[in-house]
Symmetry: C2
């Protein structure tokens, strides 16, 4: 009894595409639906109630498209809406972007690790609380790095300016002696090259690959789809579509869908 | 019959403080009330309807504090809510941050001028439309510079990074040969020094001083207040208060007031 499965992903905007890319690499044959809630971006600025309300609407839409595995491809939504979604949609399987990464940290050699995130993610303490449950002596230092998302969204990758800004953050005294960096926002994996150049000895945690691994583990062994991906956005400005094409390498058609 | 007047200013956050500083210099004896709608910041991301609704609530509050001259110290609110507010509050005098600057441009020698603004302000075309009404051959080139507000709000002023980012924007081919720059966002006057260093021959329009001049012109000749300023915020995070104190030099007490 081999059921065909379909993966739905959502984010407030384009950041979740880093997770989609990892899924396409890991699970090329599975059908996927991506929803970018660009009408309400950024989630990092919104209240938990608002994020829960947006997330519930989106998951209802993805379920109606036939998705039975949902990837919450946004740190703010993972922290604010994860458990509510699991309760509201008991028939769906959820993977968020925080738990698999925390589990990977807990299972690795304890070392001083930097968590870079938006102000909202750092304030939520979501990573630290979940890591604490594992009772391992892993030192996690969270630093809010709020300029990184607008920097990426304004197309500054490759300008060299992203390195100056990242350097400024990594020079924060609280990060002295770090051995690893967790990109605690789905945009940040795009800064991997800059980080490798600035801190060649520091391990950059490949969060999208860890999340894709977690998705793979909940799927049936034999998944048999066409490997198609459908893209939906709740709002689309020309600058946004240009960014999707350039920075996130999405040349496909986006359908506008307000929920 | 010399009526005492009181000035109310509002912005989505701290940017309007550049206008407040200019008013304090120009009109030190007048009482002022500042309202920063930090719960809803940034206005640049919101719909016109939402901005109108926020603005109406705030102006009602400022009027209840005795303010009879209202400075809309935010470009997004000036563009989206200016005429609605004038109709809704016929007893109040309104000064927005766009009209006085456009009038100053129209009255000066025609020259190629750059307007730097948020995406929303540039998209609104508010400056170009109002300038067109003057029928002067002034060439205004609008460029969206969305990284500048987060850059200022994340405390990067003085790091040198603000110069790299501004240089990146000023190198846009559309700005070749500009002779003046209009800071089309109330945060941007804080970049005056960086701009002077990068483009010493280009005139930086002192928008807050022009707005303060316009406010002065609507006041009675003899205004007789204590020159006090009261500050209200609709939301306050520690990082925000630190920014108000450091970047915007406001050491005073802020009162939290949700409308």
């Amino acid at each position: 009894m081999n059921k065909q499965r379909k993966i739905g992903l959502f984010d407030s905007g384009l950041g979740g595409l880093t997770v989609l890319h990892a899924l396409e690499e890991k699970l090329p044959g599975v059908d996927k639906v991506y929803y970018g809630d660009t009408l309400h971006l950024p989630y990092g600025d919104k209240s938990d109630e608002a994020i829960r309300s947006f997330s519930r609407e989106i998951v209802g839409f993805l379920a109606a498209q036939g998705c039975d595995v949902i990837v919450i491809a946004c740190n703010s939504a993972s922290a604010a809406a994860g458990s509510m979604l699991e309760e509201s949609f008991p028939d769906l399987t959820f993977i968020n972007v925080i738990d698999p990464v925390v589990a990977a940290l807990a299972g690795s050699v304890p070392r001083k690790t930097a968590l870079l995130g938006t102000r909202a993610t750092v304030r939520s303490g979501a990573y630290a609380k979940r890591l604490a449950a594992f009772k391992v002596p892993h030192e996690l230092v969270a630093l809010p790095t709020p300029l990184l998302v607008p920097l990426i969204e304004d197309g500054f990758l490759g300008s060299g300016i992203e390195e100056s800004v990242l350097e400024h953050y990594l020079n924060d005294p609280s990060l002295n002696g770090i051995e690893a960096i967790v990109p605690g926002c789905t945009h940040y994996p795009l800064l991997r090259e800059a980080a490798a150049k600035l801190r060649p000895g520091v391990d950059w945690i490949d969060a999208p690959a860890i999340v894709a691994e977690a998705v793979d583990s909940v799927l049936d062994a034999a998944v048999d789809g066409s490997g198609s991906t459908t893209y939906y956005l709740s709002d689309a400005t020309p600058s946004f579509l240009a960014l999707a094409s350039s920075t996130f390498s999405i040349k496909a058609h986006w359908e506008k869908k307000v929920l």
